[in-house]
């Protein structure tokens, strides 16, 4: 029952995050959804992931969102859509049906308590390449942000310079 409540609350938070007119509220609803997902992960027996998700997903990303919204300002775009609403519903149901086709065969599989290796062994030894790639990703992210947020004037392309002139 507790799981059902968490799932319902997380979905409500997600819908509100998408529907909210103000960006700041959207970011806060997203943080709520993130916290509930973290709680669900904790209950599923993954406390390490829950802690990381809570601190990164609900904490850091929300702070970054607020920062970005402050820098860009609230902007109300008119309601015209990129693709018509019926088409988006059709695509959504198509994607959900595909997901279900893949998920349903495994849903009745019984839970096995067998443990193959500890988390530390898998994370640091079996999936060493993943860990290296994560470090590389973080470096790439830092470089990307530095490049994007650096002074714009120096890296204008020739056409942009022409247009400005």
């Amino acid at each position: 029952m507790f799981h059902v409540l968490i799932a319902a609350a997380a979905l409500v938070c997600a819908i509100q995050a998408v529907r909210a007119a103000r960006l700041l509220l959207s970011a806060l609803w997203l943080a709520g959804a993130s916290a509930l997902v973290a709680l669900e992960m904790y209950l599923l027996g993954a406390p390490e992931i829950a802690v990381i998700e809570l601190s990164v997903g609900a904490g850091l990303v929300t702070v970054l969102f607020v920062f970005a919204i402050n820098l860009t300002g609230e902007e109300n775009l008119d309601a015209r859509r990129t693709i018509p609403r019926p088409l988006s519903w059709v695509l959504l149901f198509g994607a959900s049906a595909l997901l279900l086709i893949f998920i349903l065969p495994g849903i009745n599989q019984s839970e096995t308590g067998q443990v193959y290796a500890t988390f530390r062994e898998i994370f640091w030894e079996d999936r060493q390449l993943d860990t290296l790639l994560q470090i590389l990703m973080i470096l790439a992210g830092v470089l990307g942000v530095l490049g994007l947020l650096s002074d714009q004037k120096t890296d204008l392309s020739p056409t942009q310079k022409d247009r400005r002139a």
Binding site: L11, V18, E75, S88, A95
Partner: protein, 103 residues
């Protein structure tokens, strides 16, 4: 009638992914696109943890979920830096105005 835990989590996963895809398809605001991506990835992450639990390889699912969290956070950070720059250069966060790059 009681709903089993895996079924509940799968409904949650499907809901999060569905809401994320719908928002990605319909929104035009750059920051809302990042919100939609975050929702989508949270669904995928939960699915990884559940899959690990169902197949008895909890630790493998969890270490994959960590990779997903890191990749997702970097995507969000780069996306927001991009949004700030787009706003500064083009003056709007409307995705449609980004098509002016075609000219």
């Amino acid at each position: 009638m009681t709903i089993s835990i895996p079924t509940t989590v799968i409904i949650m996963v499907l809901g999060l992914i569905g809401i994320g895809i719908y928002a990605l398809l319909t929104t035009r605001h750059l920051i809302k696109v990042i919100v939609a991506l975050q929702l989508l990835v949270k669904g995928a992450m939960l699915a990884l943890v559940l899959a690990g639990r169902l197949t008895g390889q909890e630790e493998l699912g969890q270490s994959l979920a960590i990779t997903v969290i890191i990749a997702d956070t970097i995507v969000a950070v780069i996306g927001m830096a991009l949004a700030v720059q787009v706003r500064r250069v083009i003056g709007t966060l409307d995705l449609r105005s980004l098509t002016s790059l075609r000219r």
